[in-house]
């Protein structure tokens, strides 16, 4: 073999060896268990299905139909047709074709009602309350790793595998399942997975945890999957074009509900009223544009008060805070936080984990105190605590 040809080829073969070894190591634990692979019609989950099948596992492909992409099409400015989004006909078609190609049984199971109840509704409610929601974590908690595991068990699969970039491993010393950051930190999805329980982690495999995205695409090509070049979807699956407001308007109109009237005052940190706003849902912490007020220096949204219908603005310096409170906490690496712990914390998906001390301040609340003040800590987002690569746990920023 001439590895001298291109570095890319070298890495491809290296990755095959590494991936093969890693998956073999996992497969020793799995033996003849049946694995249900959650297939979205994307490259990642398709490659997972192909890999596990090639390894000799009994694999069942499942797509969870969670949202009807045609439901709000053309309403209130929403696009007429949405293709290439999770749960679209095209994606189900792609997943089904991959399953056929690799020779595994494939089923679509419908959980639209649960998705609407556990993801869409809370998303809308958070948004109209002036918080910035992350539906992906809710989907992971309720659908991907609760409902999916239920379905898998119902049909006889003890474990599920997904295309998430993350790692799961059992730590003998602690006697706990650990969730860890993946090899490709640019694709790290652990931020959205902080809610997984020990039970869920014990039944979940993330075969892509040790691979980079380019390596995954190479592997897809190696398995002859036509969708190896399919672009990744970057946005929330049910919000085409990332336009939250348009989605909320269309959804509320469909439900026959009105957007609550939360128009009120724009106030400074000192409580001085300097203007008006048309609704708290138009703002997010750290926002600079759209305030409708001009002063000498730049103004940012520093807090949104749903109760008072107030949007509090201030200068850049007001955006920084040293603490946050995380509620409805889920712990993974440890069973309980009995004394203060030194960790790094992510306050949003695209954020470099920052050093902090965390301590329990209530039954269900953890206070994080950062070494350095952090910019735009936003209620509604998640705070996820890391110990190096391992996810200690996380909660919702209140």
């Amino acid at each position: 073999m001439h590895f001298a040809c291109t570095g890319k080829l070298h890495r491809f073969f290296a990755s095959l060896r590494m991936t093969g070894a890693d998956v073999r190591a996992r497969s020793q634990k799995l033996s003849t268990n049946t694995i249900a692979v959650a297939m979205s019609g994307g490259v990642d989950s398709s490659t997972v299905a192909a890999m596990l099948r090639a390894e000799g596992h009994t694999v069942i492909g499942l797509t969870m139909q969670l949202w009807n992409q045609r439901r709000l099409a053309g309403k209130e400015g929403m696009p007429e047709s949405v293709q290439g989004r999770c749960c679209s006909l095209d994606d189900v078609y792609d997943a089904r074709r991959v399953a056929q190609q690799i020779g595994i049984p494939y089923y679509v199971v419908n959980h639209e009602e649960r998705f609407e109840r556990d993801v869409i509704r809370p998303f809308v409610e958070e948004y109209v309350s002036g918080r910035t929601p992350i539906p992906c974590s809710l989907c992971n908690n309720h659908l991907k790793f609760d409902q999916l595991l239920i379905v898998a068990q119902q049909i006889g699969a003890e474990r599920v595998a997904t295309g998430h970039y993350a790692r799961v491993a059992f730590d003998e010393a602690r006697g706990r399942w650990l969730l860890k950051r993946p090899a490709d930190s640019s694709k790290d999805q652990t931020y959205f997975l902080f809610g997984l329980t020990q039970e869920q982690l014990s039944r979940t495999i993330f075969p892509l945890g040790d691979m980079t995205k380019p390596e995954v695409r190479e592997l897809a090509r190696h398995h002859g999957l036509a969708l190896a070049e399919k672009p990744d979807s970057q946005e929330i699956c049910f919000v085409p074009g990332g336009d939250y407001k348009r989605f909320i308007d269309a959804y509320l109109a469909e439900q026959g509900e009105a957007l609550p009237d939360t128009a009120g005052d724009l106030v400074t940190a000192n409580g001085e009223v300097i203007g008006e706003h048309g609704g708290i849902h138009n703002f997010t912490v750290g926002q600079r544009k759209g305030l409708g007020v001009a002063t000498g220096s730049p103004l940012y949204v520093i807090q949104i008060s749903g109760a008072n219908k107030q949007v509090i603005v201030g200068g850049e310096e007001h955006l920084y805070s040293r603490t946050l409170r995380a509620r409805r906490v889920n712990l993974i690496a440890i069973d309980d936080l009995r004394e203060p712990l030194r960790v790094t914390v992510k306050i949003r998906h695209r954020h470099e984990p920052a050093a902090a001390m965390i301590e329990r301040t209530g039954d269900d609340e953890i206070l994080a105190t950062f070494d350095e003040p952090q910019r735009a800590i936003t209620p509604g987002q998640a705070a996820v605590f890391y110990d190096g690569d391992a996810v200690v746990g996380g909660g919702w920023i209140g």
């Binding site: 069942i60 139909q65 009807n68 049984p105 089923y107 679509v108 199971v109 419908n110 639209e112 009602e113 556990d118 809370p122 958070e126 929601p133 992350i134 974590s137 809710l138 908690n141 309720h142 609760d146 595991l149 239920i150 379905v151 068990q153 119902q154 049909i155 006889g156 809610g195 329980t197 039970e199 869920q200 409805r328 889920n330 509604g380 919702w396």
Partner: protein, 390 residues
């Protein structure tokens, strides 16, 4: 793994004799049945033979049989063919979507539609039909046998009402043909649909009985095939297959094979009910075709049961094939008054000519264990998972 097929209401395998009957008509006798040369004469003869076989199955004249691409086309041809703007149609809430949506489309173009409810056994009350009649009623369309429950409707009574009122009566007999005897004179219908792939003929062929003298607009324009009622070069192999299957179906009915079918179905049904608690037959107490049993198993997810059984090699279904993956529970089961959770927990078992006693044995072994496992899993799992809400 030997696969057991208990979803014959979705489709049936082509019988070997039917396949053999079709075989010459692909490469050997291939002429366009309308051509005047030898090749056309050959296939024309085959089409007309098939027409006679279908007519014998339905108790009508050969000239009253129109070949179509299947049951859906036959339903659409009857409904769109007999009803126009300003007309009124009476139909039932348990019809196949081919009928319901064809009627809905008529509403969009200016007709009026009354959809009659059914009782808890999914039976339509003929007096409801009579009461729904209006001066501008043009057509009553009620199915002879329901595809999901197998329940047989009182079509002869409806035929009498139609005759008295001077309105057309169309019966969708797609699920009845080959399972129970059909005599269009006794029923009193003006049109009746059948489908090849439900009676062991191939997919892609069906027929519509059209009583002589009935005015019908075609769906397709083109050649003058089928007495100008259905343009398009005849699907000769398919039609030959339909004819052979119809002939075999008539012979089987005359022999009393339907009793044997019913016995197998009953053994499956009683066997399941004896072993599984909190289960019941949907449509219990109503007359039914001999091959179908639609059973609700409380506290389970029907979709998961179908998948679990498929993975063990037994094919069944929840509701109709065309609705799989749909969010709405079966409109038929809902119309009968089943709660949504019960409708979602219903499984349809439908036998075919090829079903043997061993198939029933295997199903009887698998069903109780699958239901037990599903019932055990859900509450237990819900207790353990910790959900994190926003």
């Amino acid at each position: 793994m030997r696969r057991i097929y208990l979803d014959n209401n979705a489709t049936t395998p082509v019988l070997p004799e039917v396949f053999e009957a079709m075989r010459p008509y692909f490469a050997d006798q291939f002429g366009n049945a309308s051509s005047i040369h030898h090749h056309g004469q050959q296939t024309r003869a085959a089409v007309e033979d098939a027409r006679e076989s279908v007519a014998a199955l339905l108790g009508c004249r050969a000239s009253e049989v129109v070949f179509t691409s299947g049951g859906t086309e036959a339903d659409n041809l009857a409904i769109a063919g007999m009803v126009g703007a300003g007309d009124h149609v009476i139909t039932s809430s348990i019809e196949h979507h081919a009928v319901l949506l064809a009627c809905k489309h008529l509403e969009d173009v200016g007709a009026e539609v009354t959809v009659l409810p059914v009782d808890s056994r999914s039976l339509i009350d003929p007096t409801d039909v009579r009461r729904a009649l209006r001066p501008n009623t043009k057509l009553i369309s009620v199915m002879m046998a329901n595809n999901e429950t197998g329940v047989l409707q009182p079509v002869s009574e409806i035929g009498k009402i139609a005759a008295e009122a001077g309105v057309y009566f169309h019966a969708d007999a797609v699920q009845a043909a080959g399972k129970v005897a059909i005599d269009v004179k006794k029923i009193g219908c003006h049109a009746l649909s059948i489908s090849g792939h439900k009676i062991h003929a191939p997919q892609g062929v069906g027929a519509l009985y059209v009583r002589k003298g009935t005015r019908l607009q075609p769906l397709f324009y083109g050649g003058r095939h089928e007495r100008s009622l259905r343009a398009g070069t005849e699907n000769v192999p398919g039609i030959v297959g339909l004819g052979k299957a119809a002939k075999m179906a008539k012979e089987a009915l005359d022999r009393g094979d339907d009793h044997k079918m019913a016995a197998l179905r009953d053994r499956l049904q009683q066997g399941i009910l004896a072993q599984v608690e909190d289960a019941g037959v949907n449509g219990d107490g109503a007359p039914r075709v001999p091959n179908t049993s639609n059973i609700h198993f409380d506290h389970i997810d029907g979709e998961a049961m179908v998948i679990a059984m498929d993975l063990k090699g037994v094919a069944v279904s929840t509701g109709a094939a065309c609705s799989s993956g749909a969010i709405e529970p079966s409109h038929v089961l809902v119309a009968m008054g089943l709660r949504t959770d019960q409708a979602r927990a219903s499984i349809r078992f439908s036998l075919g000519k090829q079903t043997v006693a061993e198939d029933i044995d295997i199903a009887l072994a698998l069903v109780p264990e699958t239901v037990a496992r599903l019932r055990e899993i859900s509450p237990r799992y819900k207790k353990q998972a910790v959900s994190t809400e926003a």
